[in-house]
């Protein structure tokens, strides 16, 4: 009875640990979506009050506009922080990312969160239009650096996902190699030749995949924030290369399937 209870407790602990890991990125994502809705509402209110002030230029409309601007700026900082927290949870859950890469991307996130925390402290002290402009311009001038860090993290997450799938692919390749080598003496020469050709094609696809991954990793580590158009072009190229790398893995997996079909029949 005690043994059964111990097993049940252990099982429950393991299950809740597993559930908690994935639940944290899900809850972070829901929080981010909620903050996005709040920001959109605050931004609409800000636009309306700004238009009123631009039209009437009264003291009341100005006070109202400053108040709505404060609320919008605070909501904007909270939104960005919630998004970065969501990315942080995705990094924690990523199975293929190495510990070094996790520390690197979480370092980017931490530095951006610190910047936004400093921004949030400035918002309550906004008392005029000029104050609001100064505070907003701090984020505007930092925004390119923020987006570059976000892009690098997103590419890093994709690299981690593909690395996880590549390790599964390597395991399947090793199983296929062992299967062919174990049955080499029993198979006719024609089948052995065909099987070896398939194994070579499977390994070649893996090599092509790795070349693309290495190229993207290098570009990602050197991504700069100076030119917006250039940065967007490079990010787009990296994502295209990663799509091609995924296709290489898919084709290699289909080759393993062909090898299995070849081994399945005697004639």
């Amino acid at each position: 009875m005690r043994r059964i209870a111990a097993v049940l407790i252990l099982f429950t602990v393991l299950l809740t640990r597993h559930v908690r890991v994935f639940a944290s990125s899900e809850s972070a994502y829901r929080d981010y979506l909620y903050q996005y809705d709040v920001y959109r509402q605050k931004y609409n209110d800000f636009k309306i009050s700004k238009n009123e002030y631009d039209k009437f230029k009264t003291l009341t409309s100005k006070t109202h506009a400053i108040d709505k601007t404060r609320q919008m700026l605070e909501s904007r900082d909270t939104l960005l922080k919630s998004y970065l927290m969501f990315l942080n949870e995705k990094i924690n859950e990523n199975k293929g990312m190495s510990a070094t890469d996790k520390a690197l991307y979480q370092g980017y996130i931490k530095s951006e969160v610190d910047f936004l925390n400093a921004q949030v402290l400035l918002v309550p002290s906004i008392g005029s239009i000029n104050d609001a402009l100064d505070v907003s311009k701090q984020l505007e001038s930092h925004y390119d650096i923020l987006i570059t860090s976000i892009n690098q993290t997103i590419v890093g997450l994709t690299l981690g996902d593909l690395a996880d799938m590549a390790s599964q692919y390597d395991y399947a390749t090793s199983l296929a190699t062992v299967l062919v080598d174990t049955n080499r003496m029993k198979l006719p020469q024609g089948k052995i030749t065909i099987s070896d050709r398939w194994l070579l094609s499977i390994k070649n696809k893996r090599t092509l995949f790795q070349q693309k991954i290495n190229s993207v990793s290098l570009k990602n580590s050197g991504l700069k924030s100076t030119d917006v158009n250039d940065r967007e072009r490079i990010v787009s190229e990296m994502m295209n290369t990663l799509s091609e790398a995924k296709t290489d893995l898919m084709e290699g997996t289909s080759y393993i399937g062909e090898l299995l079909t070849e081994l399945k029949y005697r004639n």
Binding site: I129, T158, S254, G257, R266
Partner: protein
């Protein structure tokens, strides 16, 4: 004995009645269009044209249908025999645990790769309008 017929009596018209009949003045009436006795009515020409066209079209349709039915005749047997499916013998390797394990693993990996999206929209950053738009005071 008959009296000779007087020529003047014959030639003379009958005696006019004493009271002249009253003739009503008639209003002029438009003359009906002159109809040529040899002209066929236009409406009948039109009807005949339609009937002729319908008959011509029906003839063409029936002819094409006949050609189709001729084309859909049963095919003549070819000289080349069709291949019968060859029954392939399964190798004992395919029943081994190593083979079955690999087969299941490959199916799972293939499904994971197919389902994975490189460009995941859920991790895209929020779209923000940054400049406030106020003029410096």
């Amino acid at each position: 004995m008959d009296q000779p017929v007087n020529q003047s009596d014959i030639q003379r018209p009958a005696q006019e009645p004493s009271a002249q009949p009253q003739v009503q003045a008639f209003t002029p009436v438009a003359k009906p269009p002159a109809q040529s006795p040899h002209r066929f009515p236009f409406v009948w020409i039109l009807v005949l044209c339609i009937l002729f066209g319908a008959a011509f079209g029906a003839g063409i349709f029936l002819r094409t249908k006949k050609e189709e039915s001729v084309q859909q005749a049963a095919p003549t047997p070819t000289l080349l025999p069709t291949e019968t499916p060859v029954h392939r013998q399964i190798d004992p390797i395919a029943t081994s645990s190593a083979y079955l394990k690999l087969e299941g693993y490959v199916a799972s990996l293939s499904a994971s790769l197919s389902a994975y999206q490189v460009e995941n929209q859920s991790v895209a950053p929020p779209v923000l309008d940054l400049p406030l738009g106020f003029t410096q005071e």
